[in-house]
């Protein structure tokens, strides 16, 4: 089943203090099915991360459509009301950023378990509704140990962790909860070999469960054998850093 149909999606950043528009990526079209894993490729600055952010709507697309087949009905992610996007983020769409944003005084374990805590809201059926706190903590512990975060760090605050350790927490937080569409922005960049293997195993399982995956991977070898296709992204040079005259 096609989960996502992207047509002519584009993104330009309007930087007011420079009075300029900077193109992130040009008109892009592709589809993604449940259980399909596509890699987003392109040079540095080609707009790979911006594409993922536009689909998660932490950035606003400038043009085009991204029709997503939600369990609650079809919706254009490019134009959907913010409250609908917030709902989809709770229930169906996950995103792994390049870096963890640690919250002050929140332990690694809690950051991860919390990912499950809110998933039950809205009861879309697919969710972990009904998981109590103990079960959420169990699931979080299992994932953290799978990714190889040392047990003594679980109750610690991640602000002081190394980049790799933080990224394990970040990944666990995003992966602990069931999703239908998972967006991955260079999740392996700072990981050690054990964590990369664990991640690849986990992604394989998700793929088999029918989750649609879209990811930027600096080293595609990390997910070799899982990739079904490639989406090439490039910033349209002709409109790059175009002067704005409004």
């Amino acid at each position: 089943m096609t989960l996502l149909t992207v047509t002519d999606l584009s993104k330009r950043f309007h930087i007011h203090h420079l009075e300029r528009e900077v193109a992130a990526f040009g008109e892009l079209s592709f589809t993604l099915r449940g259980g399909e894993f596509k890699r987003v490729s392109g040079a540095n600055g080609a707009g790979k991360s911006s594409l993922l952010r536009c689909l998660y709507r932490s950035a606003l697309p400038t043009g085009g459509r991204a029709i997503y087949a939600s369990l609650r009905g079809e919706i254009d992610l490019a134009r959907a009301h913010d409250a609908d996007i917030a709902l989809l983020r709770r229930e169906e769409i996950g995103y792994v950023s390049q870096f963890l944003r640690p919250r002050p005084r929140t332990s690694a374990l809690r950051l991860v378990a919390e990912g499950l805590g809110t998933a039950g809201v809205g009861a879309a059926g697919l969710n972990t509704a009904g998981l109590n706190t103990d079960e959420a903590v169990d699931a979080a512990q299992e994932l953290l140990s799978e990714l190889g975060l040392r047990r003594e760090l679980w109750p610690a605050y991640p602000s002081t962790f190394s980049g790799g350790e933080q990224q394990k927490v970040n990944l666990a937080r995003a992966l602990v909860r069931p999703q239908r569409l998972l967006l991955l922005d260079e999740p392996t960049a700072s990981l050690d070999a054990q964590a990369r293997t664990a991640l690849s195993r986990r992604l394989k399982t998700l793929k088999e469960q029918g989750v649609a995956l879209l990811g930027v991977f600096h080293h595609p070898g990390d997910v070799a054998g899982l990739i079904d296709g490639e989406i090439r992204v490039s910033a349209p040079s002709s409109v790059q850093a175009q002067e704005v005259t409004d």
Partner: protein, 263 residues
């Protein structure tokens, strides 16, 4: 420049808990709030950011029915317009459906009464008279705000700033309001105290799916607590969106300035 977003949600089928339309407030010649409209969905946290004088705190005072607007509608739950109610009815809404935490504890608490007494006062105003029930409810509420119960009979005057905010929070939530308003709840606290109070707020919000509106000039507070955010300037909403989108991909020149000014 950007796509126009849908005016109403398509997937969410529940009605908003709150809908404010065309809110206006004038103080003499000054237009403090000029036509502000927004909705809040059940269980959602809405942030309002802006500098001093942007009108953000005025919006909150109007929602808390402390002041009368010069125009606008305020739909809350089944009530089509809270502003149109009689004074008595408004008082009932304020006591039973709305809780508020102020930046300044003087506004929310009697500083010389005990912490538990402050909460009991809230329950008394709702009609509870039995001493045992009052005491029990006060301690439950204080515990939920992660206030040390050993100090529940101390007056807020002798408590630290962080503790005073916890007493305010316990008082504001004692009657399980449908709407919790927070006006700069952690401004002025030490950084480590601020982190702990924010943590309590988040925990409470998640556990009970409290619908909250939090006003702050601190973008970190907004990012930590709010799902969506309104950016106010000169009494107007200049930008609105999901918190991470507004903070990471701000559209309005003023919001871009605000985000880039953050340390």
């Amino acid at each position: 420049m950007t796509l126009t977003l849908e005016a109403a949600p398509q997937l969410i089928r529940v009605r908003p808990l709150l809908r404010v339309t065309g809110l206006h407030k004038r103080y003499g010649q000054t237009q403090a709030v000029r036509g502000v409209s927004f909705e809040l969905y059940p269980g959602e946290v809405l942030g309002i950011v802006g500098e001093s004088g942007s009108g953000k705190s005025t919006v909150l005072r109007l929602l808390n029915l402390e002041e009368t607007p010069d125009g606008g509608r305020f739909e809350l739950g089944e009530t089509p317009d809270v502003f149109a109610l009689t004074r008595q009815e408004r008082r009932a809404v304020q006591v039973h459906q709305i809780g508020i935490v102020y930046q300044n504890p003087h506004l929310g608490l009697r500083l010389r009464s005990s912490a538990s007494g402050n909460i009991a006062e809230r329950l008394l105003s709702a009609g509870e008279r039995r001493y045992g029930a009052l005491r029990e409810a006060a301690s439950t509420s204080l515990a939920a705000s992660e206030f040390p119960l050993a100090r529940m009979d101390d007056p807020p005057l002798v408590l630290s700033g962080g503790m005073q905010q916890r007493v305010q929070l316990a008082k504001a939530t004692a009657l399980s309001p449908r709407l919790l308003l927070l006006d700069e709840p952690t401004t002025g606290l030490d950084v480590s105290v601020q982190a702990r109070v924010l943590d309590t707020l988040r925990t409470m919000q998640r556990a009970h799916q409290v619908s909250m509106i939090v006003v702050s000039h601190d973008l970190g507070v907004i990012r930590t607590l709010a799902d969506r955010v309104l950016v106010m300037r000169g009494g107007l909403v200049v930008e609105r969106g999901l918190s991470d989108q507004v903070l990471d991909d701000p559209q309005h020149p003023y919001t871009q300035e605000l985000v880039h000014a953050k340390l």
